[in-house]
């Protein structure tokens, strides 16, 4: 040891703490015992015992290390395996849900076809068929096409101004609800959002950062397609309170909001819940 180190007063106390750890890295007891030995007050242990102590300690250290390392190695494959099995499950379930979705649409087509056959078989019950068609159009189960307007909404560039905080230039579920409600009020007959038709059970809400329409998460940009009179729909929406509020929101927070009319737009159909228990009230 080099004796007591010179005491340097530092402006920051924490550094002297670190310095002390470095200075005292060798147990000071060694120096003390060595000094005692030099005085003759203590005797040095025989070489054999010294060696044994050192070798024994190293053996214990090596054993501890080996056990710890081997345990870590055993643990890693376990973690990797559970991750892999989770991934596999996700893939399996995704594939299964894709198959099921395909089956649903195939069965839907089959139902359509059988119904058409059955109705034509009954023989010219054209009134019933047109009534069915009208009902399914109204319920939102059939894909539709026609003139209308298309609204494109998208998140703005992130955080234009710090005063507003982060994440304000984002389209929220409330904005989508506002536009949809405004369009319905303006006379839209059928609306879909990113290919998700709004039927009578469809909810617009958010989960975390994602906007869900009919429990399916949407990805940006959000395209709202509304069928209706192209001459009045846009103007009536712009004049409505919803339109005014949406314009304010877009201008304030820097959200992209564009509206255009189209002659031949399409909206998807949506499978609606079939009532199993509810019956029409008897007159």
């Amino acid at each position: 040891m080099t004796g007591s180190p010179p005491v340097i007063s530092r402006p920051d106390g924490s550094l002297s703490l670190l310095q002390r750890i470095v200075d005292d890295s060798l147990d000071p007891t060694y120096a003390k015992v060595a000094a005692a030995r030099a005085d003759g007050t203590s005797h040095r242990a025989p070489l054999g015992r010294r060696t044994l102590a050192f070798g024994g300690a190293l053996a214990v250290l090596a054993m501890l290390t080996t056990v710890t390392v081997s345990r870590t190695w055993q643990q890693e494959p376990d973690d990797a395996r559970s991750r892999a099995s989770l991934l596999e499950r996700v893939r399996d379930l995704t594939a299964a849900s894709e198959v099921a979705t395909e089956e649903v649409s195939a069965l839907g087509e089959q139902v359509e076809r059988l119904r058409a056959e059955a109705l034509s078989g009954v023989g010219a019950d054209a009134r019933r068929e047109s009534r069915l068609q009208r009902l399914s159009v109204a319920a939102g189960t059939t894909p539709l096409q026609g003139p209308g307007v298309q609204v494109v909404m998208d998140d703005g560039p992130p955080s234009r101004s710090d005063a507003l905080g982060p994440d304000v230039a984002r389209v929220l579920d409330r904005d989508v609800q506002l536009v949809v409600n405004g369009l319905f009020a303006a006379g839209a007959e059928a609306i879909d959002v990113n290919g998700q038709r709004l039927a009578w059970t469809t909810a617009i809400r958010s989960a975390g950062d994602a906007i869900l329409v009919g429990f399916r998460p949407l990805s940006r940009p959000y395209v709202v397609t509304a069928l209706g009179d192209p001459l009045t729909l846009e103007a009536r929406f712009a004049d409505s309170p919803s339109g005014a509020e949406m314009a304010t929101i877009a201008a304030t927070y820097g959200i992209r909001f564009e509206m255009s009319t189209g002659d031949s737009l399409e909206v998807e159909g949506e499978s609606v819940m079939q009532p199993d228990y509810a019956r029409a009230k008897e007159k």
Binding site: S25, R49, A57, A62
Partner: protein
């Protein structure tokens, strides 16, 4: 020489016996290893300084391991186990580095 024999013996013992540690002890093992490592580096440095003493060494070895395990155990009970482990590892590694540097100076610069 003795050190090398001890190391090899320890590794062989650890591999052959594969002692199954009780589960409650396992979280403290890594910290105990680092503490033991610190004691061993201190011992080697003392040896090169010519002031090695077996009693001091063994006591510092066992004491280091026990105190390190105890600190982590206490930290676990208090809910700051991770932070205390980090603190212990930081302090011990600073000491290990300082001792390793002293050992290096001894070996390469007489």
């Amino acid at each position: 020489m003795v050190g090398v024999i001890g190391l090899v013996l320890g590794i062989v013992l650890g591999l052959l016996l594969e002692p199954t540690l009780p589960l409650w002890l396992q979280p403290y093992l890594p910290i105990a290893v680092v503490a033991a490592l610190d004691a061993v580096f201190g011992g080697v440095r003392a040896r090169l300084d010519g002031i090695f003493d077996d009693r001091v060494f063994v006591i510092s070895f066992i004491g280091n391991v026990l105190v390190a395990a105890l600190v982590v155990f206490l930290g676990d009970q208090l809910g700051v186990g991770a932070q205390l482990s980090t603190g212990v590892v930081v302090v011990l590694s600073i000491r290990i580095f300082a001792n390793a540097a002293a050992i290096r100076r001894h070996i390469f610069h007489g």
